[in-house]
Point group: C2
Chain length 594, copies 2
């Protein structure tokens, strides 16, 4: 499903670029933005419609899955006398007697999880030790392993392992006290699930808060271990950290910016004068080096964003990725586009945006000046990222280094990689923003982007089909991000156009362009109303049709029986040889059976 979306996205963008190339031929009049607006509006509706139909089709063709029948209920009111489990049971049998099936109260399992991880490591070590020859099995238990008695390490580890397993058993028995006021509640039909999901349950809206359940293997379990206070504090901390990172990141950007202005660099570092006078060197420094440095710094950001998002309190890996994707997109726009264009310190940037009247003229002056940098950026960042994506050089190097230093123990532990949506989508979208804003200032950028998108289409299609294994179905949920960023880029383009017409003393064109951003935003509002609900929930029509299909299916009862245990915390699953307990490292092998 998802590769189709990305593919359409890329196609759409290429077509968009093409249409822009055609439009640039019309000359520099205000008809141009108007025309492009209409064209893009039609193409947006067609695209959005296509994706939303795909999403419905995906739902119709999807197999029965536990998350279609389950909601996550949070804020269960503190029970008086009985347990949370009893409270949930009572509430749902009272208010949803015909549809309620079962529930699983979530427990705080971070302790057990860490114990199981320890056991896992030990077990692996043991396996390796047993595989080696017997000479290495003994070691002295004294100072630095040099003195004292000879000890069989295998025995030593096995004893440790037993200790840990005892601990796990102990922790599990005392787990009843560690109940979290949250539960996965399953229903007998999809429509019944939707009823409980969409209608406020308790009188107090902060109690019995319902939420769509993620796929069982997609649940981010550590979320539940954090206390309410901790989550609240983390949320604020993440906002502060995100802002701090965004501001601090300006430092490398300013350095990069300095490199594109060679004369500045020469005055700072006079001893470089001789070197820089060589055309080859100066070309390299101004053309290629800045974006390479930026690229290096940027590659650190996606993992940080994932970390931020996981601290923010999302209940599933897919939500974390989506949130990280949005975060990274705006980070990129701010730090690559605005910081480079406005070439200033953080304070100057903030100042510009505090005086909205000046924005168009400031942008109109600054944006065209950076055209050559961004054309180079498309090549260095876009093309190279595509080729490195194809050859997967970076993972190869990582794995090589790991083997070199850590040893060859983990041969059997090969993981099928999953698509890093959170880092790829913002990159693709950022190029689109570049394309839209620069197409009438520096049309030279378009062929480069066109090559990028054509190559990208082929390469990502290949990667999706042959390389990556998706850990969760996105169901087209990333599309609204694509749409929003496109609308943003259009509005930005209009604002720059207004500024440029103003600078060129074309007041008529300038004032005729003013309605354009307004119209774009109204159009966006229409799209939100028309398409957005489909991306949030499935309508009654679909749900009931799907439910009717199931009614006559004999395997349904079996499925419902299994549903009761689908949302079991991996830490609480029976540990067979301490191996399959670690659900995260081998998603393909220990998928929950449904």
């Amino acid at each position: 499903m998802i590769f189709l979306i990305c593919q359409r996205n890329l196609w759409n963008l290429s077509v968009f670029q093409m249409s822009m190339m055609v439009q640039t031929g019309y000359g520099f009049t205000f008809v141009l933005p108007m025309f492009s607006l209409e064209l893009s509006a039609i193409s947006f509706i067609v695209e959005y419609n296509y994706i939303s139909l795909k999403r419905i089709a995906y739902f119709y063709s999807s197999k029965r899955q536990p998350h279609q029948f389950t909601i996550l209920v949070r804020g269960i009111p503190a029970p008086t006398g009985s347990s949370f489990s009893q409270t949930v049971e009572n509430f749902f049998t009272e208010y949803h007697p015909s549809t309620y099936l079962s529930h699983t109260v979530v427990r705080r399992t971070s302790k057990i999880q860490s114990l199981i991880n320890d056991a896992e490591k030990l077990y692996r070590k043991l396996g390796n030790l047993k595989a080696r020859n017997s000479q290495q099995r003994f070691m002295r238990d004294g100072f630095l392993g040099l003195f004292g008695q000879k000890v069989d390490i295998v025995d030593h580890y096995e004893k440790k392992l037993e200790d840990i397993e005892d601990n796990v058993r102990l922790e599990r028995s005392s787990l009843a006290a560690e109940e979290v006021p949250a539960a996965f509640v399953s229903f007998k039909s999809r429509f019944g699930t939707a009823i409980a999901l969409h209608i406020q349950q308790g009188i107090d809206p902060t109690e019995w808060v319902t939420e769509r359940a993620p796929e069982p293997k997609d649940v981010y379990w550590p979320f539940f271990s954090a206390s309410f206070m901790k989550r609240g504090i983390f949320k604020i901390a993440v906002v502060v950290a995100y802002i701090a990172l965004t501001i601090l990141f300006l430092i490398p950007v300013v350095v990069v910016q300095g490199l594109t202005h060679l004369d500045q660099l020469e005055t700072w570092l006079p001893f470089l004068k001789g070197l820089l006078s060589l055309t080859f060197v100066s070309d390299l420094v101004t053309g290629y080096l800045p974006s390479l440095i930026l690229q290096l710094f940027l590659s650190v950001v996606p993992p940080i964003m994932i970390l931020f998002s996981s601290m923010q309190g999302y209940i599933s890996h897919s939500q974390i990725q989506k949130s990280a994707c949005t975060k990274l997109l705006w980070f990129t726009v701010w730090n690559i586009f605005f910081a480079n264009v406005l070439s200033g310190s953080a304070l100057y940037l903030v100042n510009v945006f505090l005086e909205p009247k000046k924005i168009p003229s400031v942008l109109a002056e600054a944006v065209p000046a950076q055209a050559s940098f961004f054309i180079a950026y498309v090549v260095t960042s876009g093309w190279t990222s595509l080729s490195s994506e194809l050859f997967r050089l970076f993972p190869l190097l990582c794995s090589f280094m790991k083997r070199l230093f850590v040893g060859k123990d983990n041969d059997d532990d090969f993981e099928v990689p999953q698509m890093p949506y959170h880092s790829e989508i913002p990159r693709v979208l950022f190029f689109e923003i570049l394309g839209v804003t620069y197409f009438f200032l520096a049309p030279l950028i378009l062929p480069f982007l066109l090559v990028y998108y054509c190559l990208g289409y082929i390469i990502y299609r290949n990667q999706f089909l042959n390389v990556y294994a998706s850990k969760f179905e996105t169901g087209g949920k990333f599309w609204p991000i694509v749409h929003n960023s496109t609308i943003f880029s259009l509005v930005l383009m209009h604002i720059i156009a207004i500024g440029i017409f103003g600078l060129k003393k074309l007041p008529l064109a300038s004032s005729l362009s003013i309605p354009l951003p307004v119209l774009t935003l109204i159009f966006n509002e229409y799209c939100r109303k028309r398409f957005r609900p489909i991306f949030k929930a499935y309508p009654t029509e679909c749900l009931i049709k799907k439910d009717r299909e199931d009614q006559n299916d004999p395997t349904m009862t079996e499925f419902l029986e299994k549903l009761a245990t689908a949302y079991q915390d991996p830490a609480l699953m029976p540990v067979q040889n301490s191996r399959s307990a670690d659900g995260r490292s081998s998603p393909l092998l220990c998928a929950v059976e449904v």
Copy 2:
């Protein structure tokens, strides 16, 4: 129900003012806004909680009413072959087989309605004519009634009346073609209604749009007669007209403003110099006249806002009032507060708000200067409006004039007035905004406001209990407006405080105050999450409890039978003596039986 809310509102405000008076004693430090923030936060939560509990209690104690079992479905897809009615029937029997009861497709009835209104007028005239003596019954049918045959006017009118009634019958028979793609759909239980209401029905979110149905007598029928295009154009026209009115209204405001600066007036109109040198006259002109003029102009605005809101496409009178209330509130804030404070032309006002950095300092300079005007405003506008409310002078005058010129025909047509929420609530709230922003600049305003609120509490309580008849139950739906305006006034107060601390060169106090508006907005966000959902819909818990009560009630079947005809267009109801058809003029007499 509603008067309790208004009463609490007024109490809350008085307490708020009192607490402010206490606080002003603490001196002019930054502890003060902090303290007031905390205090107000607690009082807000208590208040909001109180009102929302009231709302739930109101629901529990309410009788079975048709609107609890009915939704309005709009955007019914165009049927192929069959009628809209058949489409609705098919859709809901397919997807809500267990809860669906019946439906009423809405028809375009503006023609019939106007015919019935004509008939109504004629009937009344006839009644009057018959009551007079027989001399006046004849008139000549020639030029100016002077020549020609003598004609019995009663016969003449009766013939006309018959013609109209024939027309009505004719129109009704051809009504099937005038179906609107909207229908009132009734369900067997409240919970079933909520299910259809909250879950998106069709795949296309613009089809099968569901909406809570208003009370039958609250439905604004002309809404359905307007075509989709017309509604869309009207919506945009209303926005434009609202902005135009807001800007044009600055003209009287500027005139008023000029009156408070006597010296300016003297330079404009030198012949007034002698007159203005009298202390009494100048006191009158500067102190009382400006707010009186403002008051006169302001009294025109509420009906205009109602007109705007009814053009905007709301389906019920209560929604129109609520929307007009919001419109009028911001109109008042903009035109009375900002226009007076910033004392400038529209362009200057807009300019100020385009440079957000300067807002605090501009406000800090301008707000204290207008303190005396606003104190006078409280007395002239607030106190006088209260006393005129008590004596209902204006309606008395109107009715007197009407009798004088129109004649005494309509004696029997006395209407119980309904509470004009849309004009009263914004006034009360505006005084609150004044109180909050001025309490530390000109504490003298507080005793005046306190008197206003104490009087207001007594007077409005009396009016609610003894004078007004409510046409619809608000169910506390106006409360969020009160809350929002209070939050707005707090943020405004903080911004002014920041500006003033800046002017007085207290950078520490100024920078310590900066987090205050942010904290207030976060607090507002919390309140939205915690309380807002209760004001939008009733939770499952309440709905099912209410439904269970009904299950054993023998009168339920009777109620459900009547439900099928509850949402009949008044234009289509059987016309008994052409009199009771006009449902609007005598709400107490022809309420739909349920």
